[in-house]
Each structure stands twice: as C-alpha cells, then as structure tokens.
C-alpha cells in the first residue's frame, strides 16, 4: 500500500492547499502544508531506500524483479490495470522527485505571493504526476500521468511566470504544452500499435509492460513504433531539433517551475527511454543507436554554443541542460552497464546542480529584478554567501572531480568507450565547452566591476540551508556514488540485458 500513498500524497496535499486558500487560511500555513506533503513523500521514499534490498535480482527473467507492486483492475475492456511497481531505478527517481519537490516549495517561499493555494495545487500535482510516471508500469497508466503532469506545469508557467524579451509567459506555456502533448500523442499511437500487434497474435488486450515486452515485432513497423516513443521522449529530454520549447519555458517559468522542469521533468524522458523505449524495442533501438548518439553529440555541442550566446542567466542554464542531456542520450544508447550507471548518476547530479543554479538565479532576481547578465556583474562580495554557492554549482555543472557530475560524465564516457570510441572522443571535447560557458556565466555575473558597492543582502537561513543541503548532496554523490550505484545496479543490468541480448543472441531467450 505504500506505492499508492507515495502517488496520492501530493494530489491530496495539493487539494488541501487550494481548499485552505479558499477557506481564507493565511499564506504561511498553506506553504507548510505543501512542505510537509513533500517531506512526507521524501521520507517515504527514503524509508523504502533504507529498508529495501535492491541489489538482488541479478538473474534476469521474463518477469521483471519488482521490489514492490500494486495492482488494481481499471479498464477491463482493454486489459488496462492500475499497476504500480518499484525497482531501483524508479526508487532513485522518486526519491529525487521528493527532494526536488521540497526544494521547489522552499524556493517559492518568498517568490510567490499571489494565489498561493492555487500555486501549490499546481506544484504538488506536477510532483504527483511525475511520481506517477516513475511508478506506472502499465503503458496506459504511464501515458496517463505523462500527459497529466503537463496541465499543472502549463498553469505554473502561464500564471506565475515572468515576461522575458517582450514575450508573455502564456506564449512559452502554450509552446511547452503543444510540443510535449503532440509528441505524447505519437507515443499513444505507438502504444496502441504495440497493443494491437499483441492483440492480433494472442486475441487479448493488455497494456502490461512485462507482457508487451515479449511481443515480437520487427521490420518497418517496429521502427515506426519505436520512433513514436523516441520522439515523445526526445522532446522532453530534449534532443536538439526538438528542443525549441525549453529555453522559453525555463526563462519564463517561476523558479519552482524551472527546478521541477530541469530537475525532474527532463528526467522523465531519460527514464522513459531506459524503462520503455529500449526494453520494448531492443533490436530497433540497437539499430537506431548510432543516430541517437549522433543526435546526442549534436546536442552536446549545440547546447553549449547556444548557452554561450545567451544573455539571460536562466536561459543559459536551460541551454546547458540540453548539452548535459546529450551525454545522457549517448550513455543510454551505448547500452553498457557502466554507461547506464553513469546515466543514473548524471541525471541525479544534473538535477542537483541545475536546481542549485536555478534557485540562485531566482534569488538574484528577487533582489535585483533582472536576470540579464549584461546588467549584472561584480556581485561577488555584495551578496553574502550566494556567489560562493554559485561558484560551487558552476564547477559542479562543468564536471569538476568531487562533484556528482564528474562521476556521471566519467562513467558515461568510460562505459561507452568500449562500444563507440569515436563518439566518446568527440563528446569529450564538449566538456571543454561546458567549462567555457560555465566560467563565462561566473565571470559575467559575479566578477567584473560592480555596479555599486552597496550590499544587496545575503542569504537568509532558509536560503542558506537549502543551498547547503543541495551542495552537500552533490558532493556526497561525487565522493561516494556507490550509494546510488548499488540501488540502480540490478535495474540497469536488466536494461543492458534486453539491449545487448538482442544482438548477441537474437534467437535464444
């Protein structure tokens, strides 16, 4: 029963916040309701982390080795079940979601001062939807949450966003929604295609992951279906030709929205690839891998160049996400256990560093009412501890040893080298570019001649503790990644098994 609680807590908390506002409760208790809800989700997932044993299950059978399952019949007509399941991969993502949820609530403590109940309704429902994505194992249910989380995100950007470069946040929100929803429908078509292939062979409808995974399809049709999934995930990740929504959405979202977007929404795409695109279509994915990796390479460089050209601080960080996700894409499609493990670490580490940077730029915006780097400069020494934290997150973002990002990128490149050495060689050059734009950000915002000498007010206790926590976790991941690697190992071996088995022994198993 712990899985449905994990899923429904944010929804319930969100409704409570909204109703509390309608009942005329003061803002502060509403924020506390939201915070406690998120803490509860985090604690639940950490409890699962501590009590569960995720290292077992190295024997890869036809039935995935779930730690916990929850299954209810839902729509019998199509054999759709309300099926939640948890393994190491979902656990890491859910815990990350809980943690970033806490951060998102905390960082809007002062930023959001209008319609607070409704804001937290949306914020918590995003988290609920994302948890649903990470736990759902029925394809219909997965799609259900995948699309559902877009609506609150849309509201979050449209109603609490900032105008930037003369564009209203509504514009960015609609762009975000259309990109992701349209690509989502492609995935729905693919899911239906898969289901009907299975139906025509067996005469039963099912949307169950472990059953459909066995459905043998090949040829052009499997390419089409695989691309349906891939495009849906590629938009969210984002992969370069499909990234158009991301800088706008990030630049105009409120801080909490950016934290959620970069921290967890992008990760749902990588999760989707690991959980669905690869195991469902191992052979076509294998054949598609060179293209995917090429797209990843383009993403690394294009994202970096794009980041360098931005003048808006948040847009810069957003574009850097494109670059980082390029590494993730390469890692996923190289398919070795080492690279896949690196992908997990990279995702977690990127969530920390991007969230940290977004929160910091939000704090600068609260104080200076601008994020334009041409108007900033010389902030070092004027804002208490903030620039120090900024430096730490910037070096984390460029992959300095000691931070989780280093481990992630290192493992991805190391793991992929045995499969695609040249891709790795080229991708490594991207690391240099990361250093360039990261230091450029640091330089333009914090160093240089200060606009004035007056102090702008440092971090208060809430902000300070928040940043310290994120930084601490980032360093912990950098020095002791085994914490995460142990949990994800079984799940990643399984992905690797599906992926590699398709080429080495196509007829056995």
């Amino acid at each position: 029963m712990i899985l449905p609680w994990l899923l429904f807590l944010p929804f319930i908390g969100g409704l409570l916040c909204w109703q509390a506002e309608r009942a005329g409760v003061a803002p502060r208790p509403i924020r506390w309701i939201a915070l406690l809800t998120m803490v509860a989700v985090l604690v639940l997932s950490l409890w699962l982390w501590v009590t569960g044993d995720y290292q077992l299950g190295t024997t890869v059978g036809s039935e995935p080795d779930w730690q916990l399952q929850f299954r209810l019949p839902w729509i019998d007509r199509f054999g759709i079940t309300f099926h939640l399941a948890l393994d190491g991969l979902s656990l890491i993502m859910v815990a990350l979601t809980g943690f970033l949820g806490v951060l998102a609530v905390l960082c809007s403590w002062q930023e959001i001062d209008t319609r607070i109940g409704f804001f937290h309704l949306n914020l918590l429902w995003i988290i609920g939807g994302v948890v649903g994505v990470f736990l759902a194992i029925d394809l219909f249910l997965f799609f259900f949450f995948w699309e559902m989380m877009l609506v609150p995100m849309y509201f979050l950007i449209a109603l609490w966003g900032h105008s930037s470069q003369g564009k209203s946040p509504v514009h960015a929100a609609i762009k975000f929604f259309i990109y992701t929803q349209a690509s989502g429908l492609l995935m729905l078509v693919s899911i239906l295609g898969l289901v009907f292939v299975h139906y025509s062979q067996t005469g039963t409808f099912t949307f169950d992951y472990s059953v459909l995974r066995e459905a043998p399809i090949s040829g052009v049709f499997s390419w089409v279906l695989m691309l349906g999934f891939f495009i849906a995930f590629a938009v969210k990740l984002p992969v370069v030709p499909l990234h158009g929504w991301l800088p706008d959405a990030h630049a105009q979202a409120p801080t909490a929205g950016s934290v959620d977007l970069a921290g967890i929404l992008l990760k749902t795409a990588a999760y989707g690839m690991l959980r669905f695109a690869l195991p469902l279509f191992p052979e076509t994915s294998q054949a598609f891998a060179p293209f995917a990796m090429a797209l990843g390479l383009i993403g690394i460089f294009y994202g970096a160049v794009l980041a360098f050209a931005q003048s808006d601080m948040k847009r810069l960080i957003a574009c850097s996400s494109i670059s980082h996700m390029g590494f993730v894409l390469i890692g996923i499609y190289s398919g070795t256990v080492l690279a896949l493990q690196g992908v997990i670490v990279q995702m977690v580490a990127h969530a920390f560093s991007a969230a940290g940077l977004f929160i910091l730029s939000g704090q600068i915006y609260e104080r200076l009412k601008t994020r334009d780097m041409r108007e900033l400069g010389g902030l070092f020494g004027r804002m208490g501890a903030l620039p120090g934290f900024a430096l730490a997150f910037v070096v984390a973002s460029l992959g300095m040893p000691g931070t989780g990002n280093f481990i992630g990128e290192f493992l991805i490149l190391f793991g992929a080298f045995s499969v695609v050495p040249w891709v790795v060689v080229i991708a490594s050059i991207g690391l240099v570019l990361a250093a360039v734009y990261s230091l450029y950000l640091m330089h333009r915002v914090y160093w240089g001649p200060p606009a004035s000498e007056t102090s702008l007010g440092g971090l208060d206790t809430r902000e300070y503790l928040m940043m310290l926590l994120v930084l601490g976790l980032s360093l912990l991941l950098g020095f002791y990644p085994q914490l995460v690697l142990d949990v994800s190992h079984a799940a990643m071996s399984e992905v690797n098994h599906w992926f590699v088995a398709s080429t080495s022994s196509p007829l056995s198993s």
Partner: protein, 483 residues
C-alpha cells in the same frame, strides 16, 4: 402488421414525448406560465427516459417496417433525452430575462427530440426522412428564437435555407436508391448493393445521402453554416444543435453503413476518409483565430466529428463502440461548455457573452464556473483525467486497429493545433481582469438548476475520465441489431 403490447412498450418513449408536446401546447393555450411549461417538459423528458428501461425489456424488436428498437437505439435515445434535459434546464435560466413569448421554445425542443429519437431508431428511408425533418424544422425556429436580434434571425434563416438544400439532396439520393434496389429498407438496399449490378446509381444515391448527412454533421466541405449558426443562435439552442442533432444524425449514419455496407466500395470509402481528414484539419485551423467562443466551438465541433468519422471509415470490431464512447464524452463536454456560456449570458439580454474578453479572470469571480470551463476545455483537447481523453483514445485505437495511418496522423496533428485555442480560452479564465466591461452570471447561479447541472457535467466528465469502465461496459452492451 398488428401492434402488440411489446410493440407499444417499445414505442413508449416516443409516445411519451409526443404526449408531452401536446400537454405543453395545451398548457400554453390555457395559460402562459414559463416555469410550468419548463417543468412539464422536464417531467415529460424524464418519464421518457425512465420508459426506456421498459423498452429495454423488449429489445431488439422491429415496430412496423419503419423503426427498429435495439440496445443501440436505446443508448442514443437516452443520450438525446439527457442532452435535451440539460438544454431545457439551461434554457429556463436563459429565457427568464427574455422579453417575448418564452413558452413555445419548449414545444420546439420537444418536437426536435422526438425527431432525433425517430432518427436513431429508423431502419427505413421513410423513417429517416420523417425523423430528420422533424428534428430540423423546429431547429430553425429555435435558432431564430430571439428573432429581434439580427444575428439570431440570420442564424435561423441560414440554417433553414441550407437545410432545405440538404433535404433535397437526401430525397434525390433516396429516389436513386429506390430506383435501383426497389426497396427503402436499409437492409434491402444493403442486399442489393452486395449483388452488384448497376453499381453507379446506387453509389450516386449513397453519395447524395452522405452529402445531406454531412451537411447536418457540418463536415468539411459542408461546414460553412456552422460558425454563423452557432454564434447567432442563443446559447442553449446552440447547445442543443451541437449535441442532440449531431448525435442523432451520426447514430443514423453508423446504422446505415452497418446495415448497408459500402465500405467494400473503394471510391466511397476514400471519399469519406478524405472528408474525415479534411474536417479534422480545416476545423482546427479555422478555430485558431476565433475570439468568439461560440464560433470557436462551432469549428471545434467540425474537427471532433472528423475524429469520430475515423470509426466509420474503419468499420471494424471497435467502430460502434467507439462511436458510442466518443459521442457520450463529446455530448457531455459540449453541453458543459455551452452551459457555461449560457449561464454567463443568462438571463437573456441581447447578444450572448461569448467573446473571450467576457471570460477573462472568471476564475477570480466565479471559481466553480471557471473550473467547470477548464475541465471542459481540457476534455475537448483530450487531456487525461477527462472524458475527452477516453474518446480520443478510442478514436486513435480504432484508427490504429485498421491501420488508417493518415487518419491517425490527422488526429494527432489536429489535436496539436486544437490545443492552442483550447488553452487560450482556458488560460484567459485565470488572467487578471482587463478593462473591458464584463458580463457575469447572476449571483445565485450555483443554486439555479443550470449551475447544478454544469457542475454535475463537470463531475461526470472527470469521473468518466478516471474510471470509464462502467461507461464502456454499458456501451458494449448497446449492440445493434442489423438486418
């Protein structure tokens, strides 16, 4: 043939509605009383709805050569009655402020429902024509009900002239079919089509009928009247037009095509597929630049019927079920949307409040009304957790099952375009109020029956979106008795 008791039981819903028309008419002749007329109408419609349960005990049954009562027709009759009930409720609130004769509206509405019910049950061209005209003729009157208002009069006239043209096509088509097959029963026509022979005339006949029905369903390229009529007609009448008349005609179309299959014919098959695709794309594209919500809904209905036509093109094992599910979700959603428009425009005072600016910031004045509108917009856009998603899921499923990739692509592209304008309406509800003068629902809208009704619709849309299994089971049972 002799009518037995079971035949009469099957006819009971039709008889009850007919009786209600007469009672309301006599009531008006005796004394004009708005509330009384509305109440009598509601009682009559409810009684007819209950009597459908009795009908279910004798289905499937054929009553005279004209009508067939099977579970399929009962389902769509029930849907038509429910939609009519909702429209009555809306109309009552709306007409309260109407400074002219208000009572006749209910007679028109009842006549029209009677026509819709006949249409749904017809298995013979005669019943088809009687039903269609009985349904359409009162609609002219309803659309032009606020005839002192130019746009309303225009809507009524436009609808009448074009409807008459469509009826001419329909009759011509029937005549051709009769000339070739010598029968007016759907099944007989189907049988003679299977024999082949003078294929061309049969085809022309069916083609003419498709044009006429396509006009009623406002499919591209017969859609030109739709936005004007939707905009001009008073909101409760637009709601009626968008739900009852559409669902009855579509139900008939499916029955016609299931009993007299033309899907084997490549030309007609292709034509219908092209109509479906064009409706999806054109409807959505034209809706993009609308600022009037009623016009926007007119265009969006074109697109939705295009999605629904996929089921007709596919004609596979899922088709009838898809039509049932999609129609239920579409009717609920459309009623809710027009319901909100009608409530904001109630009581009547000239042109309806349908401009988007009227809805700006509605959430901060009327949170529940705006929440209802939000749910309806999401449902029209087909977002999960709303009934509209289940409908879209079915439309895609039926397309994928038959491998109609072009139509599936049309649905995907159409939905993506559609999102833009649905979201535009939706986000406006939450923005801060502009400077424009605004209209608003009366303060006690929530207590009024109309307010309760739209709230119930919104709840129904959400519940069906999250747990559609009962609805699917119900529709699964609504099988059609062909032949």
């Amino acid at each position: 043939m002799n009518l037995t008791t079971s035949h009469l039981i099957a006819l009971l819903p039709l008889l009850i509605v007919s009786a209600t028309v007469i009672v309301v008419m006599l009531g008006v002749a005796w004394q004009r009383h708005h509330f009384l007329s509305a109440t009598l109408t509601v009682i009559g419609l409810n009684a007819a709805l209950v009597s459908l349960l009795a009908t279910l005990t004798v289905t499937p049954i054929q009553v005279t050569p004209l009508l067939a009562f099977d579970n399929y027709s009962v389902l769509f009759m029930a849907l038509a009655l429910i939609a009519a009930l909702a429209c009555t409720t809306l109309a009552h609130a709306y007409l309260e402020g109407f400074d002219d004769r208000r009572e006749e509206y209910y007679m028109l509405l009842l006549c029209s429902v009677l026509g819709a019910m006949t249409l749904v049950a017809s298995r013979h061209m005669t019943a088809l024509f009687i039903g269609l005209e009985l349904m359409s003729v009162p609609l002219y009157g309803m659309a032009a009900y606020a005839y002192r208002n130019r746009v309303s009069l225009e809507a009524g006239l436009k609808y009448m002239v074009l409807s008459a043209a469509a009826s001419a096509f329909l009759l011509f088509g029937m005549a051709l079919l009769y000339a070739e097959s010598g029968t007016l029963e759907f099944a007989g026509i189907g049988a003679s089509m299977n024999q082949g022979g003078h294929d061309l005339w049969l085809l022309a006949g069916i083609g003419m009928m498709v044009i006429a029905l396509g006009f009623k369903l406002s499919l591209v390229p017969f859609h030109l009247w739709t936005p004007d009529v939707y905009e001009g007609a008073p909101a409760p009448m637009s709601a009626f037009l968008a739900t009852v008349s559409k669902l009855a005609v579509f139900a008939l179309l499916i029955r016609l095509f299931e009993t007299a299959p033309v899907t084997g014919n490549d030309v007609l098959h292709t034509v219908i597929a092209v109509i479906a695709f064009a409706s999806m794309i054109v409807g959505n594209l034209l809706a993009l630049r609308q600022n009037n919500i009623k016009r926007l809904l007119g265009y969006s209905s074109i697109a939705h019927l295009g999605y629904l036509l996929t089921a007709l093109v596919a004609s596979n094992s899922l088709a009838v079920e898809t039509v049932g599910v999609y129609m239920v979700t579409y009717v609920l959603t459309t009623l809710g949307t027009f319901g909100v428009v009608a409530l904001v425009s109630s009581p009547y005072s000239g042109v309806d409040a349908a401009d988007m600016s009227h809805y700006r910031g509605l959430f901060w004045r009327r949170p529940y009304l705006a929440a209802v509108m939000t749910v309806m917009m999401l449902s029209l856009a087909g977002i999960p957790m709303t009934a509209g998603f289940i409908g879209k899921f079915y439309a895609l499923a039926v397309g994928v099952q038959s491998g109609l990739w072009w139509l599936v692509a049309g649905i995907v592209v159409g939905s993506a375009i559609g999102l833009y304008y649905y979201l535009r309406v939706m986000v406006g509800l939450y923005l801060h109020e502009g400077e424009q003068s605004r209209r608003d629902a009366t303060d006690d809208w929530g207590q009024r029956s109309g307010g309760v009704m739209v709230l119930l619709l919104a709840i129904a849309v959400l519940v069906l979106g999250v747990y559609p299994q009962p609805m699917i089971a119900l529709i699964d049972a609504a099988t059609m008795a062909t032949g």
